[in-house]
Symmetry: D2
Subunit: 310 residues, 4 copies
């Protein structure tokens, strides 16, 4: 891709979103990050070579995009996940410098953020009206305007800081344990090396829907000792009532047990979309069941060889 600088990243924007904040936690990201208005545009930019990779939300996103991400990766031209980023969902309350809690009459934010802060708002700002815009980043831009009719914004920390707002209260979410998961997506290339704490993302299309069809799919994992981190049935685009499964499996495609499970799935599924093997953000290492290590697989293969030609 001549002319593309080594690590130009796209992301689901605009500037100042939670996705942007998550992107800046990656060590190699410089100032050249490019916001895209939609997940689809960010991913297309990767396919077109405009950027080397793009960060998009894939689970529990405040600002939406999850379904778009899953669908685009499943049905679009092949892309792979090379990294995941977890970001605690924290909502600071930002104001223009000098504003105090009792000054606040109007709060601006994204509808999902408003919903997640409702208890705090009704308790601590019962007098305030909450207005909603399309992005938390937009709320910060608006409030930063000294002539704005809005007094406070609920937004990502990065949006407040970039707009020189003051963090009046640190985290006002009703549930402080939520985490958004983002993935860094690239064009397919040689799969990265295993780190010992990896995850592999797949979409599995069933051949037919009968009692036990899901079980047969899961047996492909279980009979090789592969644990699942996430499973979600999703209707397919083609026919109402047909299902596919979006799955995160523990391990790396170069782990023998996962490689064999993948080949097994390829054989029994109507289609298997491989969306990448990449390091787990939580660094959790899998428990390797007896008989499922790479060495166990190598020993079994050597044993078979000896049987064939003693």
């Amino acid at each position: 891709m001549p002319g593309v600088p080594p690590a130009l990243y796209g992301y689901f924007g605009p500037e100042g979103t939670f996705t942007h904040q998550a992107l800046l936690t990656l060590p190699s990201v410089g100032r050249g990050a490019v916001p895209y208005a939609t997940v689809g545009q960010a991913l297309q930019a990767v396919r077109d070579g405009e950027v080397n990779a793009a960060l998009v939300p894939i689970e529990n996103s405040v600002e939406g995009g999850v379904t778009a991400t899953l669908d685009n990766l499943t049905y679009g031209e092949p892309l792979v996940i090379t990294r995941e980023v977890l970001l605690p969902v924290q909502f600071p309350l930002f104001v223009r410098p000098g504003t105090t809690l009792s000054d606040i009459r109007t709060v601006l934010t994204h509808p999902h953020a408003a919903a997640q802060c409702r208890t705090w708002l009704s308790t601590h700002l019962p007098q305030a009206t909450v207005a909603e815009v399309g992005s938390t980043a937009g709320a910060a831009v608006e409030v930063a305007n000294p002539e704005s009719r809005f007094d406070a914004a609920i937004c990502a920390r990065i949006a407040g800081e970039r707009n020189h707002l003051f963090p009046l209260v640190d985290g006002i979410a009703d549930n402080s344990e939520a985490v958004t998961r983002f993935v860094l997506v690239s064009r397919p290339g040689p799969v990265g090396s295993p780190t010992g704490a990896d995850k592999t993302t797949l979409v599995l299309f069933m051949r037919e829907d009968h009692p036990g069809a899901l079980l047969e799919i899961l047996e492909q994992f279980a009979s090789r000792g592969v644990n699942l981190c996430r499973i979600e049935s999703r209707p397919t685009k083609k026919v109402l009532g047909d299902y596919c499964f979006s799955v995160d499996a523990e391990g790396h495609i170069t782990d023998a047990r996962l490689a064999e499970a993948l080949m097994g799935l390829h054989r029994i599924c109507a289609d298997v979309v491989f969306l990448g093997s990449y390091p787990r953000a939580d660094r959790a290492e899998p428990v390797i069941r007896t008989g499922t290590s790479n060495r166990d697989y190598a020993n079994a293969a050597a044993w078979l060889e000896r049987l064939l030609a003693p």
Copy 2:
């Protein structure tokens, strides 16, 4: 519940949302439907006896609320689903009477609706700016104001009609096959009768996370010939890394095969939350595998009796 009229419904509002439109498809809903600002408030109103039931989104909602619904039903005081409603996601473009396509300079809608109509908008209204508000219903109200600076709203049909707007274009969603699923939720009571095409919603908390734990849970269904319509792993609120499963199973709690599967799950799971057996909106009847009908169960029980006392 003295004083409550026979069928007073709450819903995830405001007036004019897709949830509101879905509610009006129910035969018995009169004018007394009550909007609530959040899913949580709508469900609390059911618990408090303010309304008999509430309609809330549970899958693929344009206006959000799905996670709130799942979490509230899972962790809140017991409620049960008694009905489901499917609504195709169609976005008409509404304008004030007299406005033509070429007049439109500004379009107002919810961010998710904007995202789902992006291709149509850039093709047919390249000149227009798209602004976002917290609800599609609010967009309709704003555009209905003759002095509004916005020319068009993307919103539910009901919102356009109630605000006396004109449906200039029927459906402008990029993917016309999407469907939102809503559920009608009541306080627990005697379970309704089976219709032959029913669905049962459960949340299953695993005892421990090991390769095969999910398989053991699914075997409880498969060994009784019960098919699943939907499965989704979800992190539990308690500990990072623990999972529960949100599941829709084919059949009714009074079907012998499902009853036995439920008892099996109760025995092996840390907890099972029963969220109701109710008629399927699509009326799809299950394929009954050999040996899994109520008659087969009754025959097997009679056989066992004869063995015990010939």
Copy 3:
């Protein structure tokens, strides 16, 4: 059954067989035990009310009869096992009083006994010829005759003693760990009480033979936490290539987990033949998996009741 004394036993004879010896280990057996020439005749005597019960070999018998027992119980008029007896296969060498090892020129026994003592015989009696008869008991009778041309008999202890022979060497079997298993068989009646260490014997006829058919049968046990002690596929009498399974399962028909497994098998199998629940001879108690005790089953049933009518 008027006129039948309370505990008249038949057995696979003649007098002095290992079956006879096993029978005498039962506490209530008096002198009235009746030998039958074949397993089929012994079992028919039970059906005809000639005897209350019969002891026949079912596993690893020295003197044969195992296949006859399995087939007769599977395909004949219903009978049930009420007890099992294990007898170590020990072969003493009996001689007429006064005979020494170096006197022995000829040894008489059943062909299977001869086969199992071959190493000892060729080591310690290299000079002796081994002749074979139809039963070890018959060998003892022959050797007891002072004019017999045979010097020694390999037979059950009971046969040697009853014929006043002298046990010259205690146990001469090449494999001293073998055990024969016998079962006491009665007409069907109320099933005996569970003892906490029980076994249930079944014959399972498959509906069809496909990869996974056996798996489906075994899942009926595993999904209820029932362990198997023995499994053996056997061709059915009807069609070449069809199989049934002869199975011993841990537990008693009145254990909830086994009762549910039995009903599950009744529903998916072409036929299930129940051959009795009875105390294990080895008194080994099963490991009860979490969620599979009678109390767990009762709790699950009570929970289901509460769901149906809160």
Copy 4:
């Protein structure tokens, strides 16, 4: 093995047994077949290079030996099965030429043969006494002696013919469908080519005995679409209560699905004894489930390669 002629066979003798008759159905067997008194001696002769191969009974043998065969192959120095032979169990009644049915006062045979012809004998020869010897072949030799006190022998056809006896009645077995299975056993060498209708014999030692242990083993077959022809649990020699499984699986070790199942078993079992892949005597071809052909396996492997290095 210098000096050994190309196809010298041992068998479980003496001359004239059913095993001998089965051996003569093999095309390449000449006059050089060598009888051995026991299964153990026949198999040891293979190990010692005295013969190239030996035929021994492995299922439903009239003359015993099955347990000896299974144990010797399981625990002895490695040998492999290269062929199987099925022989219908037919018992002709042989007499000296000139003897008629009404002349017969005494019948001589092996105890198992006597048991299997009891109904015929009591119906057609009610006046006759049945005496038993250690082999049906020995009965034929005895009756062939013009001065014998026995009038008839029940024995293999080959024994009657070799002793110039006359087949008075063709088949007198009460169950005319029984079949004995024999296997031809050799020293391990390069495995023979697959024929498309093959069988593989294994002994599987479990790591531990818990509900589901057998299921895990069978899942290794089922998850690769391999059907079982025979399964039998057998106590191990080492510890009472531990089990191993004697298994015949459909297919050949060079079939990809069976090879992968074998490696899977090697990884989860305490031990796997491979006893050979060989043509099925009944020439029954397996039903190849979708996704389990060699081509499917090759395609899956190629797909995996492409994922690793696009």
